[in-house]
Structure formats: structure tokens, C-alpha cells
């Protein structure tokens, strides 16, 4: 009887030699992205930090990029995987434009394409370690969706990734309503980003807000939020529990 294990082909992702060929853990990561629908389109916010584990190493990372004429993509998670996704989308939009026939891929199509990519990578045990937010407007229709690294996807009036899901979404559930003006939308996003800045260890105080409307995409210059650290509760944190921090 033959008790030896048969040799698997090297491109197989199971087995002992496979770990060098697939994603196991992320290295340089971005934190939350928050986005909401407003009167004229979508508003999206993300900070410009790229963390290397617990070190806030890179402070000028653009985590939101326009895709084609109608979409805006924001990503959290592994930055190099985000760059790879941008390359895939670059090819996709290029071939779409080359048809030159008056048809173009809208945000719904791009979102679905990304869902297929993320889910298929997950099935091969080689995920792109990102949570993506895809927003856009086409022919007056606003679209906002998200895809995770395991291929979970859905659309909603407001979405967030990572810590944003826990800290920003509750604020949005309470304060979001249809037909927000641009100013109100920005204020609401800043409210969420401020909470994330206070409470998320990997957040940095340098953010961009992006807007996409029928006319196109605008990504703001980086700026910082005003913070307040003089809350009395923070004044003497060890008061009630000696040894705490």
C-alpha cells in the first residue's frame, strides 16, 4: 500500500509551500473610510494615514481615487492591495473607453465587478486585504456600496469600513436624512471623523473629503480637524481607578 502524500502542483494554495504565495496578514494599512449620500451625490472621507502595525508610518496616503467618469473608490486595509485593485480598475475603464460607443460602466457595474474580484480571491484563500467603498452618480442616480475582503457586499445610504462601522454608523443612523446639503453632509462626516480621531488608535489628524456628483469628482486638499482635550473627564483619568491610564 502507498502511504506517501502525493505531490501537489506548486501553484496550489494549500499545502506547506503555499504560504509564500498568498496573503496571510496585511502590512501597511489604512483605517476607516466613511461615506454618505447627499442631495447632489456622494460624500466620502478618509484620513491619509498608512500604519505599519502600531506605527503611524506614512502620513500622505491617498485612500480615495476617482474611477472612470462616474465613480469614486475608497479603501481601508492593505495599501498595496488597494494599489493592485486600482490597476485592475484602470484596465477595466481603459477597455470600456476603447469601445468608444456611448456606453460606460457606472458605479453599480464597478461595484459588482469588485465584488466578483474580492469574492473569487477569497475563494482561493488569497484575499485582497481591503474593505472598499464605492460611490458614484450616473444619469442622476446616486449609488453607494461597500465590499469586504471576503466578498460581502451591499448598498446603503451611508457606509463605513473598519472602526467606522462601530463609531460612525450609529451617528449616521441618527443624523442622516435624505437630501442633505453639501455643508450639512460635510459637517456630518467631520463629526464622524472626529470621533474616529479620538477613539481609533490608527487614525491620524489629516483627512480628505471627496465629493462625487453628476459633474465629476473633487477630492479636497488635506486638512485637519479641531480637537478638544480639556474635557473634565480626561483631566484626571486615574482619579477613580489608581494605576489606570
Amino acid at each position: 500500500m502507498n502511504f506517501t502524500v502525493s505531490k501537489q502542483p506548486e501553484n496550489c494554495l494549500l499545502g506547506p509551500e503555499s504560504d509564500s504565495q498568498r496573503t496571510l496578514y496585511p502590512y501597511v494599512t489604512g483605517t476607516s473610510v466613511v461615506a454618505l449620500k447627499y442631495k447632489d451625490g456622494i460624500l466620502m472621507a478618509a484620513d491619509m494615514g498608512g500604519s505599519y502595525g502600531s506605527t503611524l508610518r506614512y502620513k500622505n496616503v491617498e485612500r480615495m481615487k476617482p474611477i472612470g467618469k462616474h465613480s469614486l473608490l475608497g479603501a481601508s486595509g492593505e495599501i498595496s492591495d488597494f494599489q493592485e485593485i486600482l490597476r485592475y480598475l484602470d484596465d477595466l475603464i481603459l477597455y470600456d473607453n476603447m469601445w468608444d460607443d456611448g456606453n460606460s460602466l457606472g458605479p453599480k457595474e464597478v461595484h459588482n465587478y469588485l465584488t466578483r474580484v474580492m469574492y473569487n480571491r477569497r475563494n482561493k484563500f488569497n484575499p485582497l486585504w481591503n474593505s472598499l467603498v464605492l460611490g458614484g452618480v450616473k444619469k442622476g442616480e446616486k449609488y453607494l456600496g461597500t465590499v469586504s475582503m471576503i466578498g460581502v457586499n451591499f448598498e446603503d445610504n451611508h457606509v463605513a469600513t473598519g472602526f467606522g462601522n462601530h463609531l460612525a454608523r450609529p451617528i449616521l443612523r441618527q443624523d442622516w436624512h435624505e437630501n442633505l446639503s453639501f455643508e450639512d453632509g460635510v459637517k456630518l462626516l467631520e463629526k464622524c471623523m472626529r470621533v474616529l480621531l479620538y477613539r481609533d488608535r490608527s487614525a491620524i489628524n489629516k483627512l480628505q473629503i471627496a465629493k462625487i456628483t453628476e459633474e465629476g469628482v473633487t477630492i479636497s486638499q488635506p486638512y485637519s480637524l479641531k480637537t478638544y482635550w480639556e474635557f473634565s473627564a480626561f483631566a484626571n483619568p486615574a482619579q477613580g481607578a489608581v494605576g489606570t491610564w
Binding site: 469601445w99 460607443d101 456611448g102 456606453n103 453599480k108 457595474e109 459588482n112 465587478y113 466578483r116
Partner: protein, 269 residues
């Protein structure tokens, strides 16, 4: 067309710059039973003559639904047509799965044309012997295309292919300028009239023809026999009163794009 020494295989040019095998394939389209298509801004109607071989058999399927927003009518080798319809359905379904959006008909037509072109440039293949009238919707509205075995495709306001299609084309040429703003029902009536022209005097009844419609808000579907017979009955009476000569909307000019003439023909360029 006569046999000559340059027509044995598709990869041989004639001295006059013709590929005879491709032209012979287009002859096969002309020998098939007629298929017609016409469109307005929002709807496209496809129709075809369906003659069964004998009273015992059913007739051949010549109109195929490719997707909710695309349908095709064929003339020529129906087996080739069936295979190409399967290819089109596959392309549509793959696109829908990846993008959750319908494949724009203009892109499908180009893919079909490229597929046909391959068969005109391989010595081990033969051209598809079927002409396809592709009706579909995309972002820019309703479209009707004709794909021929040469690998060319043209967009039409209205067109007819197959045997005795010239009679239908003449009818369509006279009235096509009004089609853009026609209502859906008027478009179907015009389609039935055009089919009648190809029958050369034989009575038009729903058992020998098939009509299909696709439009904005109306997925592609083949009309059932009762509906078609009702429409035939509705205008047949009017048709007798009108007489053959009095057409209320007379129009001049021909189809857009090239029209294939019967008889000796250089291939569509």
C-alpha cells in the same frame, strides 16, 4: 455566380479581390426564409416567415431571445443561427453576472462580428451561413443591427433579409422615416405588413409567421398566436380598403448603410 478556380477555400483571394466562399455564405442567407426588423426610438419589432417542411412537422425556430433586452431573428442555416444564439446568450449572462447590468447590444454585435470574421481567415473553418437581425436596447435607446457572414455589421432603422426580402425592403423604404415616432402597436402592424409583402399573395396568418417585440419597459418576448392573429385581422380589413397604391405616408430615400442586392454581388465592404 459561377464556379471558378478561386472559390475552393475561404483563404483564397480571387484576382478581383473577392473571397468567394464568404460571398457564397451570404447566398445561403438569401436562400433562407425571410426575416424583417424595424425600430422606433423606444421599441424594436422582429418578424419572420415560418414555413414548416410538411403538415406533419413543426416549423423551425428563427427568433431567439438572447436576454431580456436583446433578441435575434435569423435567416439562412438555422443550425449556425442556433449556435450563435447560444454564444450571444452566454456573453449576455456572463456580463450580467459580473456587472449586474445588461450587456449593451452595440458591444454584443461587435463581438459577434469579430467571431464571424475569424471564420473568414482560417483555412480550417468555414463562414457562418446565417444572417442575424439583432434587436436590443442600451443606454442610447433602441437599436437594430444586421450581422452578416462576412463579419460586417450595420445599424438599421428597418431591414429585411432572406428570400423575397426585396419586396419587404421596398415597403419599409417607403415608410421608414415615420418609424422613429411610431407607437409600439403601429410598429407591429408595419412588421406584419412587411412580412405579408414577402409572401407574394399568399394569405398572411399567424400560423406561418412569428413576431417578437422588445422595448423600453418591455422585455423581449415572442407574441403568441392569438395576439398576432388579432392584429392581422385588425389591419387586413383596413388593408383591403386602403388598396395597394394609396400609402398615407409616402417617403423617399433608401436605408442607411449598404443593402445587399439579390444576384451577382460584391461582398459588403
Amino acid at each position: 455566380m459561377f464556379r471558378n478556380q478561386y472559390d475552393t477555400d475561404v483563404t483564397t483571394w480571387s484576382p478581383a479581390g473577392r473571397l468567394f466562399q464568404v460571398e457564397y455564405a451570404m447566398e445561403a442567407v438569401k436562400q433562407g426564409s425571410a426575416a424583417i426588423g424595424l425600430r422606433s426610438k423606444t421599441h424594436i419589432v422582429l418578424g419572420c416567415v415560418n414555413k414548416a417542411n410538411s403538415e406533419l412537422s413543426s416549423h423551425q425556430k428563427k427568433i431567439f431571445k438572447v436576454d431580456d433586452h436583446i433578441g435575434v431573428a435569423i435567416a439562412g442555416l438555422t443550425a449556425d443561427g442556433r449556435v450563435l444564439s447560444r454564444y450571444m446568450r452566454n456573453e449576455c449572462i456572463n456580463y450580467s453576472f459580473t456587472y449586474e447590468s445588461p450587456l449593451p447590444v452595440g458591444r454584443l454585435v461587435v463581438q459577434l462580428a469579430d467571431k464571424a470574421q475569424v471564420c473568414t481567415q482560417r483555412s480550417w473553418k468555414r463562414p457562418y451561413g446565417v444572417g442575424l437581425l439583432v434587436a436590443g436596447l442600451d443606454e442610447s435607446g433602441a437599436h437594430l443591427y444586421y450581422n452578416c457572414p462576412s463579419g460586417n455589421y450595420f445599424e438599421y432603422q428597418a431591414f429585411a433579409i432572406g428570400s423575397r426580402s426585396q419586396a419587404a425592403k421596398t415597403y419599409l423604404e417607403r415608410r421608414f422615416e415615420n418609424f422613429a415616432d411610431s407607437s409600439r402597436d403601429d410598429l407591429v402592424k408595419d412588421a406584419l405588413m412587411a412580412i405579408r409583402e414577402t409572401l407574394q399573395g399568399e394569405t398572411l396568418k399567424s400560423s406561418i409567421c412569428t413576431v417578437a417585440v422588445v422595448g423600453v419597459g418591455e422585455p423581449f418576448h415572442i407574441l403568441d398566436l392569438e395576439t398576432v392573429q388579432q392584429m392581422i385581422d385588425a389591419f387586413e380589413i383596413v388593408g383591403e380598403q386602403e388598396g395597394p397604391a394609396a400609402e398615407p405616408d409616402a417617403a423617399a430615400a433608401a436605408d442607411q448603410g449598404g443593402s445587399t442586392e439579390e444576384g451577382v454581388a460584391p461582398m459588403d465592404i
